[in-house]
């Protein structure tokens, strides 16, 4: 009895939902191209000092990266056949550190034995310095 109301409502619902999804993805595109951000560390947590402002730390991190990570993630961390691009990481510094320490099961080796906390910090500084 109410099926025509329900059908009309469904039609409109689908239109509004598509428009919303389109609007969201459109805004994503707009944000990507027009909005600049103050800091690259969006999680808002800070590390001892601002690590990305230390060229020494970054250079050290780059060296470690070339030795241990570039074979998978590419020379400039732009991504390889199997491993992702590491520019503009959206995960927190703490999570990057955890990924480096513990690795990712079946995907990425762990580096907890190879690098100490400060060396891992330098790797994070290098990754955060990438633009």
């Amino acid at each position: 009895m109410n099926s025509s109301l329900e059908a009309k409502a469904l039609g409109l619902a689908l239109i509004v939902a598509s428009a919303s999804l389109g609007g969201a993805w459109g805004s994503a595109f707009f944000i990507q191209s027009h909005v600049t951000f103050v800091s690259s560390d969006f999680q808002g947590e800070s590390l001892p000092g601002d690590i990305t402002s230390s060229p020494v730390l970054i250079a050290q991190g780059r060296e470690f990266f070339t030795m241990s990570c570039a074979e998978c993630h590419g020379d400039d961390a732009l991504g390889g056949d199997e491993a992702p691009n590491l520019h503009h990481l959206v995960i927190s510094n703490a999570r990057i550190a955890k990924t480096i320490k513990k690795g990712i099961k079946d995907e990425m080796p762990m580096f907890a034995k190879k690098y100490d906390a400060h060396q891992i910090l330098s790797l994070i500084a290098y990754l955060r310095s990438l633009h």
């Binding site: 009895m1 994503a28 959206v90």
Partner: protein, 143 residues
């Protein structure tokens, strides 16, 4: 435009829980309202609660989605936890908006078959929202 990213992190955290909770509440109220017998005397009240919960939930997704997009600088998919988050977020967002619009228009004038379909969609969406929330939590909490 220049924006402090920590602000978006806070806004996303503050805004995401409303649509998740409201969708679950809507699923609970409307399912109970559907299942309970007429003589219980609660049917109409439960359906009314389900009606307002889904409409507010659907409206609440917009600030949640927008703040999330600003937070990630406009990433639609990403990878790892963020990718999983998005694989649940986008279908949940679209279906939730559709459910909210449908329910707002149909109100209490639904057929039994129509409402059964609506409930299936609603329960599915509540599941998607929970999964999206889980992976969103992984992005910050598990760090």
């Amino acid at each position: 435009m220049s924006i402090d990213p920590a602000l978006w992190s806070k806004l996303h955290g503050a805004s995401t829980h409303f649509p998740v909770a409201l969708t679950m509440a809507a699923a609970l109220f409307d399912s109970l309202g559907f299942i309970l017998p007429e003589r219980s005397g609660h049917k109409a009240k439960l359906h009314a609660a389900g009606y307002y919960a889904i409409i507010l939930g659907a409206l609440g997704t917009f600030p949640a989605v927008l703040s999330g997009l600003f937070l990630t600088k406009g990433v639609v998919l990403g990878h790892d936890a963020l990718l999983y988050h998005h694989l649940f977020v986008w279908p949940a967002f679209a279906v939730l908006v559709a459910l909210g619009v449908w329910r707002a228009l149909v109100g209490e004038k639904f057929s039994e078959r129509g409402f059964r379909l609506y409930l299936v969609g609603l329960l599915l969406t509540a599941g998607l929202m929970a999964a999206a929330g889980y992976w969103g939590g992984e992005l910050i909490l598990n760090s």
